[in-house]
C-alpha cells in the first residue's frame, strides 16, 4: 500500500496550489491526477484573475461587494471577505512564481475589466491566463519535487469509522488498482461540465470529486446553480472569453442592436453572466437571433488589440468558425460553463468528514452563490487551494496514520471486473452520457420550470437504471479509456441527480436558477443554500442559511 501524509486528488490550479502549501508545511504530499497536470482543465481559463490590490488604491471591500451582488446574495459573506482580502497577495505570489502577467506602461501589473464589476481589477496573461498559471504552478511542483501520480484515476475514498483515510485509484497505464493511505485527502477535481451537452468544459471535467465525496457522506451544496456563459460557440461549445467584452466588444442581435441596453442599461455587456445569458436567450426566443445565436462584435477593437490581447480566441474563431474577429462578428450563444455548487466546505476547505477537504470548482465554500463573477474562479482555486493545503497538512502532522484494511482496494476491483463482464446490450457510455447531457441542457439551463425539472429528474433516474446494465466493450487493462469513461459517467449521474433535486427544491429565481414559473427572488424564504446528502433512496435535501456579515440583500440591477 502507498502512503502519504496528504493526498491531493487533482492537479489543476486548486490541486497544485494545495499540494505546494501542504508540502511547504512539511507534510509528505502527493498529487493523484487522472491526466498529466498541465492537461487539467484550468488550462482553458482565458480571461484572468480578480484581485483588489489595496496598496495601489483598489478596495477589497468593493471586490467583495461585487462578488456578493454577483452571487445574488447567496454567497457566504464571511468566505467572500476572506477571498477578496487574500486576493492581492495571491496574485503577487503568482507573479513571483513566474506568471508573465500583462503590464501597464509603468511596468506594473496591468488590468482589464470583467463583468459584474465597475472597476478594472482583472489581472491577465493575454487570453491564456489559465494556461499561464497552470504551467507555472507545475513548474513549482517540479521545483519542489512533489510526488505526482500521473494518469491515476481515483475510484473511491477509503472511509473508516466516518473518517477519510485515503483513496483507491487505478493506474490507467497498467489498469492496476491500488490503495493509497493518507491522513488528509483534498479533493480538487474541478467541475462537472460534461454532464451537460454542449459545454465549454473539456472532456475530462466529469464531477469525480463530487461523485467521490457524496456517497462518503459529504453534502453537495447549491448544485442547481449552473452558470451558462454568454459567449460560446454553437455546436462544440468552445468558449469566447468575457475578456472580449471586457476589452469593449458588443453583443448584437439579428437587427444589429446592442440589445443589452434594454436589460442592463448601466453595465451593458458587462452585467453579470446570468443576466447577460438570460438576455441573449430572451432575444433568441423572441426571434431576434439567427440560428439560435446572437453576435459578438469585436471589429471596432482593431486588429492589433485582437492579435495581442485576444490572440487565442482569434485562433479559435478562425479554426472552428473560419471567422476573423477583426473582420466579422461571430455568432455565439449561452452555453453551460461552470458549477457554483459543489462539496460543502468551510473557509479552510474542510468538510464535516474528518480528513476530507475540497477546493476549487468541485468545492462550495461558498463564494460564488447563485452566480460566479468572471475571473473569480481562478482566484477561488488559488486562495482556497492554499488554505486547504495548509489545513490538511496541519491535521496530518499532528496524528499517526489511521488503520486501513489490506483489502481496501478489493471492492473497487470487483466493481470494475463486474463492469467489464457485462453483456453487450446495445447500450453504451456515449449514449447514456449524451442523453444525460441533452436532458440537463434542456431542462436545467438558463430558464427552468417545475414540469421540465420533473421530467429531467425522471429521465436521470431512468439513465441511472440503464447505467446499471450498460456494457463497457473494451476489455483491456492498458489505457482502457472506455472503462474510465464508464466510471466518470457514474459520478456525473450522481451529480445530475442532485442538480435536479436541488433545482426542484429552490422555489424562487436567484442567480443562475431562473424559474419561469417563479420569476421573482424570495428573500424571505430563500436566503438559504440547498444541500443534498446521499441515501440509498436518492438525495436527502436540506437547507442551511446563508452567512451575512455586512451586505443586506437589495434588488440587483446592472
Amino acid at each position: 500500500m502507498y502512503e502519504h501524509d496528504v493526498v491531493v486528488v487533482g492537479a489543476g490550479l486548486a490541486g497544485m496550489r494545495a499540494a505546494l502549501a501542504a508540502a511547504q508545511q512539511g507534510a509528505d504530499t502527493a498529487i493523484i491526477t487522472k491526466v498529466h497536470p498541465v492537461r487539467s482543465h484550468s488550462n482553458a481559463a482565458q480571461g484572468g484573475i480578480n484581485a483588489a490590490l489595496t496598496d495601489r488604491g483598489d478596495d477589497w471591500e468593493d471586490h467583495a461587494y461585487a462578488t456578493v451582488k454577483g452571487s445574488d446574495y447567496l454567497g457566504d459573506q464571511d468566505a467572500i471577505e476572506v477571498m477578496a482580502q487574500e486576493a492581492g497577495a495571491a496574485v503577487i505570489e503568482l507573479e513571483h512564481m513566474g506568471v508573465i502577467f500583462s503590464r501597464d506602461e509603468t511596468g506594473h501589473l496591468g488590468t482589464r475589466r470583467f463583468g459584474g464589476q465597475e472597476r478594472a481589477r482583472t489581472f491577465f496573461v493575454a487570453d491564456i491566463t489559465g494556461q499561464a498559471m497552470l504551467h507555472v504552478l507545475y513548474e513549482q511542483v517540479m521545483k519542489e519535487n512533489v510526488r505526482v501520480y500521473e494518469e491515476w484515476f481515483v475510484t473511491s475514498l477509503i472511509m473508516v469509522d466516518g473518517e477519510c483515510r485515503g483513496v483507491v485509484a487505478m493506474d490507467i497505464m497498467s489498469g492496476k488498482i491500488e490503495a493509497i493511505r493518507a491522513k488528509s485527502v483534498i479533493l480538487c477535481t474541478g467541475g462537472v461540465g460534461r454532464a451537460y451537452e454542449p459545454s465549454t468544459n473539456g472532456l475530462i471535467v466529469t464531477g469525480d470529486g463530487m461523485g467521490l465525496a457524496y456517497p462518503a457522506g459529504a453534502a453537495l451544496m447549491d448544485m442547481e446553480m449552473i452558470q451558462y456563459h454568454p459567449t460560446t460557440l454553437k455546436g462544440n461549445g468552445v468558449l469566447i472569453t468575457e475578456a472580449a467584452r471586457g476589452e469593449g466588444a458588443y453583443l448584437l442581435n439579428s437587427e444589429g442592436d446592442r440589445f443589452m441596453k434594454t436589460y442592463a442599461p448601466n453595465m451593458l455587456e458587462l452585467a453579470s453572466r446570468d443576466v447577460v445569458s438570460r438576455s441573449e436567450a430572451t432575444e433568441i426566443q423572441e426571434g431576434r437571433g439567427v440560428d439560435g445565436c446572437v453576435f459578438l462584435d469585436l471589429r471596432h477593437l482593431g486588429r492589433e488589440l485582437i492579435e495581442t490581447k485576444l490572440s487565442y480566441i482569434n485562433e479559435v474563431a478562425l479554426d472552428y468558425m473560419n471567422i476573423n474577429l477583426a473582420d466579422e462578428p461571430i455568432p455565439i450563444q449561452p452555453g453551460m460553463h461552470y458549477i457554483m455548487g459543489g462539496i460543502k466546505t468551510d473557509v479552510w476547505g474542510a468538510t464535516p468528514i474528518p480528513g476530507l477537504y475540497a477546493a476549487g470548482e468541485c468545492a462550495c465554500v461558498s463564494v460564488h452563490g447563485g452566480n460566479r463573477l468572471g475571473a473569480n474562479s481562478l482566484l477561488d482555486t488559488v486562495v482556497f487551494g492554499r488554505r486547504s493545503g495548509e489545513a490538511a497538512a496541519a491535521r496530518a502532522l499532528e496524528r499517526p496514520f489511521g488503520r486501513v484494511s489490506e483489502h481496501a482496494a478489493y471492492l473497487d476491483e470487483t466493481r470494475i471486473i463486474s463492469l467489464l463482464d457485462r453483456k453487450d446490450n446495445g447500450d453504451s457510455v456515449a449514449k447514456v452520457r449524451l442523453a444525460m447531457g441533452e436532458t440537463l441542457n434542456e431542462h436545467l439551463a438558463v430558464f427552468r420550470e417545475e414540469q421540465g425539472m420533473q421530467t429531467a429528474a425522471k429521465a436521470i433516474q431512468q439513465l441511472k437504471e440503464r447505467y446499471r446494465y450498460m456494457p463497457v466493450k473494451a476489455k483491456g487493462k492498458v489505457f482502457n479509456t472506455a472503462l474510465v469513461f464508464a466510471l466518470e459517467l457514474g459520478f456525473m449521474l450522481d451529480c445530475a441527480e442532485t442538480i435536479c433535486a436541488s433545482g426542484l427544491t429552490r422555489k424562487e429565481s436567484r442567480g443562475a436558477h431562473y424559474r419561469t414559473d417563479m420569476p421573482t427572488r424570495d428573500d424571505e424564504n430563500w436566503l438559504k443554500h440547498v444541500t443534498c446528502t446521499w441515501s440509498p433512496d436518492g438525495p436527502v435535501v436540506d437547507t442551511i442559511p446563508v452567512t451575512f456579515t455586512r451586505w443586506e440583500p437589495v434588488e440587483r440591477t446592472y
Binding site: V38, H41, D55, G98, G107
Partner: protein
C-alpha cells in the same frame, strides 16, 4: 461527407500482431477535425481506440499525433485539409516516443528533459514586496515561448532526436529560452553553461521540422537560435570547435535546406531567419561527437517551406 481514417494501432495486450493499421469509414460533418472523427469512432464504432484528449480547443496539449506523417494536434487539424483524393487520412501516434497503446505515447522522457532545463523562475536576490517591475514588451515577448502547451509534436518530428536521444529537444530548449528571456530570471549564465553541454542547444541542425509541427507558433528552432545568439554573446563559445565545417557540410549534403534558407533570407518580411543565418558560424556544432551514426535528415519538401514563407509574409 465520408472519410476513411487509417489508424495505426498498437495493443500491448495482444499475443501477436500488436501493431496494425485499422480503417474506419465514417460519415461526418464537413467542419470536423481529425480528433472529432476519432472521438466519433471511439463512441460509435470502437470503444477500445485509445487517444488522449480533453479541451478540443488546442490548449490542453493532449492530442498530438501524426496526421499523414506529420505531427500536430488532432483537434486543430481539419479533416478537409487532410484527406487525400480518396478521402483517406492517415493517423499515427507521435514519433520519437514509445507507444503505450494506439495513439497514446509515453511522455516520461519528454518530461524528464523539461525537468533537465530547471524549468522554473530563479530570481536573483530577495523577492520584492510587490510585483517585479518589468516592461510590458518584455512580458509580451515571452508569450511566444509561454504559449507552449507541452504537446510533444515538435519532439515527435525532430530529426536529431531520431538519432540522438540525448538531445534535449525543441520543447525543452524553448522552455529554457522562456527563462533566459525573462528579465526576472537571474540564472541565465548558469543556464547557458548547462545548455552548452553535449545534447544541449548546439545539437539542433535547424531542420525546421519543429517549427512546422508546432501548433502554437512557439517556433522552437527560433528560440534555440535565440539561445545560441545570446549564449555566444555572453561568451559561451569556447566549446564550439573545429568541427564546424565538417558538420556544416554534412548537414547541407543531407537535407539541402541551406539553399532554401538562403532563399528565405532574400524574401522580404521574414523575421529571424536573417539573424539566424548571421548566427550560423557559431551555431553549427559537433552534434554527433563521433559516437553516433550520421543523422538521417529528412529533406523538407520545398513546397511546404515556401508555403510557410508566404504565410509569414502575409502575417506580417
Amino acid at each position: 461527407m465520408q472519410v476513411k481514417l487509417a489508424v495505426k494501432r498498437f495493443d500491448p495486450e495482444r499475443e501477436q500482431d500488436q501493431s496494425y493499421v485499422q480503417d474506419y469509414t465514417l460519415d461526418v460533418p464537413d467542419h470536423y477535425t481529425v480528433l472529432d472523427a476519432l472521438i466519433q469512432t471511439r463512441e460509435e464504432v470502437d470503444e477500445s481506440l485509445a487517444v488522449r484528449c480533453s479541451c478540443r480547443a488546442s490548449i490542453c496539449g493532449s492530442c498530438a499525433m501524426r496526421v499523414n506523417g506529420h505531427a500536430g494536434l488532432g483537434c486543430k487539424t481539419k479533416l478537409l485539409d487532410s484527406m487525400d483524393k480518396d478521402g483517406v487520412v492517415q493517423v499515427e501516434p507521435m514519433g520519437n516516443q514509445p507507444v503505450v497503446k494506439d495513439l497514446v505515447v509515453d511522455m516520461s522522457v519528454f518530461w524528464n528533459k523539461i525537468r533537465a532545463v530547471k524549468p522554473y523562475l530563479q530570481p536573483e536576490g530577495p523577492e520584492p514586496e510587490r510585483e517585479y517591475v518589468a516592461s510590458n514588451d518584455s512580458m509580451l515577448k515571452l508569450l511566444q515561448t509561454m504559449g507552449c502547451i507541452m504537446c510533444g509534436a515538435c519532439v515527435s518530428d525532430c530529426t536529431v532526436l531520431e538519432v540522438n536521444e540525448n538531445f534535449l529537444g525543441p520543447a525543452a530548449l524553448a522552455k529554457a529560452y522562456r527563462f533566459v528571456g525573462d528579465p526576472r530570471d537571474g540564472a541565465t549564465n548558469q543556464r547557458f553553461g548547462e545548455l552548452d553541454e553535449p545534447g544541449g542547444m548546439w545539437d539542433c541542425t535547424r531542420c525546421f521540422e519543429c517549427v512546422e509541427a508546432c501548433p502554437k507558433g512557439v517556433a522552437p528552432m527560433d528560440q534555440i537560435m535565440n539561445l545560441r545568439e545570446e549564449a555566444a554573446a555572453a561568451g559561451f563559445t569556447s566549446t564550439i570547435g573545429a568541427r564546424h565545417a565538417e558538420i556544416f557540410a554534412d548537414t547541407v549534403k543531407h537535407s539541402g535546406w541551406l539553399d532554401e534558407l538562403q532563399l528565405a533570407v532574400k524574401t522580404p518580411g521574414m523575421f529571424n531567419i536573417g539573424a539566424q543565418l548571421h548566427n550560423m558560424p557559431v551555431g553549427i556544432r559537433a552534434f554527433l561527437r563521433g559516437k553516433l551514426p550520421p543523422i538521417v535528415h529528412k529533406a523538407i519538401p520545398s513546397v511546404r517551406f515556401v508555403r510557410r514563407i508566404f504565410e509569414k509574409i502575409e502575417e506580417d
